[in-house]
């Protein structure tokens, strides 16, 4: 049973993701989590602001329940299944991040320098968390899906729009990674 508490390799994670996608289809849903952002908007009265949010969100409750499951799954994984939170990232990346001033990169699940409440008091932290989150919400709805909806569900169904979206994800990700992050990450 020891393997459960170790990080799961790609050939375990990938197939289990496919299994989840099939299970959700079997249950009458479809895997796509950015849908919840729209639903949450509608629940909070977004239908007063735009027609886009004027739909019967009660029919999408099953997807919110999946999101609730994600929170629980994260908690269970954190509390009971992952005694060591370290992420075995490549030595090249570690070296690069050390040069930016990140202490012991990979020793925690996410870099606490940026993913903390204190980080919100800095401009780089605001850009990464607030602007980053905003772009995820804006972009996923414009593109009609996110990583789960396009890269997993859409590509599995051989949909050309999803392939275009995934290519877009990579262009955007590479732009930020090479042009913006080198200016945001260095810790003064």
């Amino acid at each position: 049973m020891e393997w459960i508490t170790q990080p799961w390799p790609w050939y375990v994670g990938g197939p289990l993701i496919a299994l989840c996608m099939v299970l959700i289809l079997y249950f009458g849903g479809t895997l796509g989590l950015s849908d919840n952002l729209r639903t949450l908007c509608s629940m909070c009265g977004g239908d007063q602001c735009a027609e886009f949010f004027d739909f019967d969100w009660r029919q999408r409750k099953w997807n919110l329940v999946i999101a609730l499951g994600l929170v629980i799954g994260g908690f269970i994984s954190h509390k009971y299944l992952t005694p060591d939170q370290a992420v075995q990232i490549s030595p090249d990346v570690v070296e690069e991040l050390v040069a930016y001033g990140i202490e012991d990169p990979g020793s925690t699940y996410v870099p606490m320098e940026y993913f903390s409440w204190k980080s919100l008091q800095t401009l780089p932290g605001l850009i990464m968390l607030v602007l980053g989150g905003f772009l995820v919400g804006f972009g996923s709805k414009w593109a009609g899906g996110c990583t789960s909806g396009h890269a997993i569900s859409g590509l599995s169904n051989l949909q050309l729009p999803s392939l275009i979206a995934v290519i877009g994800f990579f262009i955007g990700g590479l732009l930020i990674t090479y042009l913006v992050l080198p200016h945001l990450l260095p810790i003064p």
Binding site: W8, F52, V130, P161, I164, F169
Partner: protein
């Protein structure tokens, strides 16, 4: 009871994504630097098995648990929305290291500041909804 199965699969999905580390900012950073096979292995094997599964489902005309049709709503082909929307999404993904699913999982993992990312994501969705008629699709 109708929702219990979704709660269970959601919980399982949360554990799978946590344990395979695909929701770690470090893994996303590493992926965009092409420094590790891990993320490509996870997404690639999920997609290959996903394609095989969907083909089997369609050929065998498998039904949902309630006997209904499975939801394979085709997306209308266009370029603007998928490419530009996708680029914007990718920018946010590289900044936060989290797409919508992982935001929820990281909250459960105790990264409480993710609530700010999630609220920003909801505001981004709201902004899209309000500008939708003016954007190319």
């Amino acid at each position: 009871m109708k929702y219990l199965k979704f709660l269970i699969v959601g919980t399982f999905f949360g554990i799978v994504l946590s344990k395979s580390e695909v929701i770690s900012w470090y893994r996303i950073y590493e992926m965009f630097h092409f420094k590790s096979f891990h993320m490509y292995g996870v997404i690639g094997s999920a997609v290959v098995l996903g394609i095989i599964s969907v083909q089997i489902i369609k050929r065998q005309k498998l039904k949902t648990i309630d006997g209904g049709e499975m939801d394979f709503t085709p997306k209308r082909l266009s370029y603007y929305r998928y490419l530009i929307g996708g680029i914007i999404f990718g920018m946010g993904w590289a900044l936060t290291g989290a797409c919508p699913g992982p935001m929820f999982i990281l909250l459960g993992k105790g990264v409480t500041v993710m609530i700010v990312v999630l609220i920003s994501g909801i505001l981004g969705t709201l902004a899209y909804g309000m500008l939708r008629d003016k954007l190319p699709h």
